[in-house]
């Protein structure tokens, strides 16, 4: 059966969980387990747990509720302890480390920023900037059989695309990172050249969001900036 673990908080966290469903169907009942100066928020683990929308949403909702009342260390989705004593033992064994991390994220929230750019706009810029690209582009347009040139063109463009994405990503981060306590780059996806999380003090959250808005304004229509938050500090524990 096992115990599903959502979060670790300080023992003085109020953990107001009434009315919230846990993971599983029927939903597991949320409760807390104490271990020294720490508390774990848990529920009975469902027999077969998968990353269903309902369960992920439940996990996330518990953390969002907890973060309203104090510092929280969010667990990664899907962690199951063998039984209650092993949860308590884990809290006690790692008490020092968890307490330290709770202090680091206290008063802070995570913002996740994803940025993509319209591909055609980027390609147009690359064609504009590079004589070699322009030359190869013309040649391959006129001669469908120019396979080697086509590969050479693509390789060149591909390198330029990567270069632009890296430069753009670094530039966006530079603009907003002064307002954050810490930042953590996640792997970019094919679509989003930037996928980064920022740990931001609550008091500066508005300013941070404003800085992102200003950057979006500055970048113009080709760019799509998606800001998510405030979130539990998933990326900073």
């Amino acid at each position: 059966m096992g115990v599903y673990v959502y979060a670790v908080t300080a023992a003085d966290h109020p953990a107001r969980l009434d009315g919230l469903p846990g993971v599983g169907d029927p939903a597991g009942e949320l409760r807390t387990l104490s271990g020294g100066s720490l508390t774990a928020v848990v529920s009975e683990a469902p027999d077969e747990l998968r990353a269903k929308r309902r369960d992920l949403a439940a996990h996330h909702a518990v953390l969002e509720r907890l973060m309203q009342d104090g510092a929280v260390l969010p667990m990664r989705f899907g962690l199951v302890a063998e039984d209650e004593p092993s949860v308590v033992a884990a809290l006690e064994q790692n008490a020092e480390g968890y307490t330290e991390r709770l202090q680091q994220v206290a008063g802070c929230v995570e913002y996740n920023l994803k940025v993509s750019r319209d591909e055609d706009g980027l390609l147009r810029q690359i064609v504009r900037e590079s004589d070699d690209v322009r030359r190869l582009n013309e040649r391959t347009r006129q001669d469908p059989g120019a396979h080697d040139d086509r590969v050479a063109l693509g390789e060149l463009v591909s390198q330029e695309v990567e270069r632009h994405k890296e430069t753009d990503a670094a530039a966006v981060v530079e603009r907003v990172v002064p307002l954050a306590v810490q930042h953590s780059g996640n792997a970019p996806t094919e679509k989003d050249f930037l996928n980064a999380s920022f740990l931001v003090e609550r008091a500066r959250a508005e300013d941070f969001a404003e800085a992102v808005r200003a950057e979006a304004e500055r970048r113009g229509e080709e760019y799509d900036l998606r800001l998510h938050g405030p979130l539990p500090p998933y990326s900073f524990v």
Partner: protein, 155 residues
């Protein structure tokens, strides 16, 4: 310019669209306690595939070249063909006869289940493609995907 911000002052509200966008944080970040079991979750590793592996290939070069060839250099934002479409087509009719693996299918359904009520469909495209190119064993993907999707819908 587009800025979309999800702020959840109500607590636990967040629509499925925004949940999808923070999926990798919920699944892939967060604290781990080594002695606890991690439930096996089909498809998670796919989120971590390094896109650079895909970028540096002749297939990708040819797609970029074709996208450049088709580019209307005078156009503003009304270019006829997005790269995404091109890449999608190339994958479907790929010379090596790539087909979606079972894992990929599961992720596809999984992603879709997060997108109900949202019209975004570009991201799973990327994940599907990424996986296709590194997957060697792929059979009965269609069936598997259908089954899986049904289960998700029932949930």
């Amino acid at each position: 310019m587009t800025v979309m911000q999800q702020s959840n002052s109500g607590g636990g509200r967040g629509g499925s669209g925004s949940l999808y966008d923070v999926l990798e944080l919920i699944l892939d970040r967060g604290l781990v306690i080594d002695v606890f079991a991690r439930v096996s979750l089909v498809g998670i590793e796919i989120l971590k595939v390094d896109v650079r592996i895909v970028v540096a290939s002749v297939d990708t070069y040819l797609r970029f070249a074709e996208a450049c060839n088709r580019l209307d250099l005078e156009a503003g934002d009304k270019a006829p063909s997005g790269l995404t479409d091109l890449v999608g087509d190339a994958t479907e009719s790929g010379a090596k006869g790539k087909s979606k693996g079972a894992l990929t299918g599961a992720v596809e359904a999984f992603s879709e289940s997060f997108q109900k009520g949202s019209d975004r469909d570009a991201e799973p495209e990327e994940e599907r493609r990424t996986k296709s190119s590194s997957s060697s064993s792929s059979r009965s993907s269609g069936t598997r995907r259908t089954t899986r999707r049904k289960e998700e819908e029932e949930s």
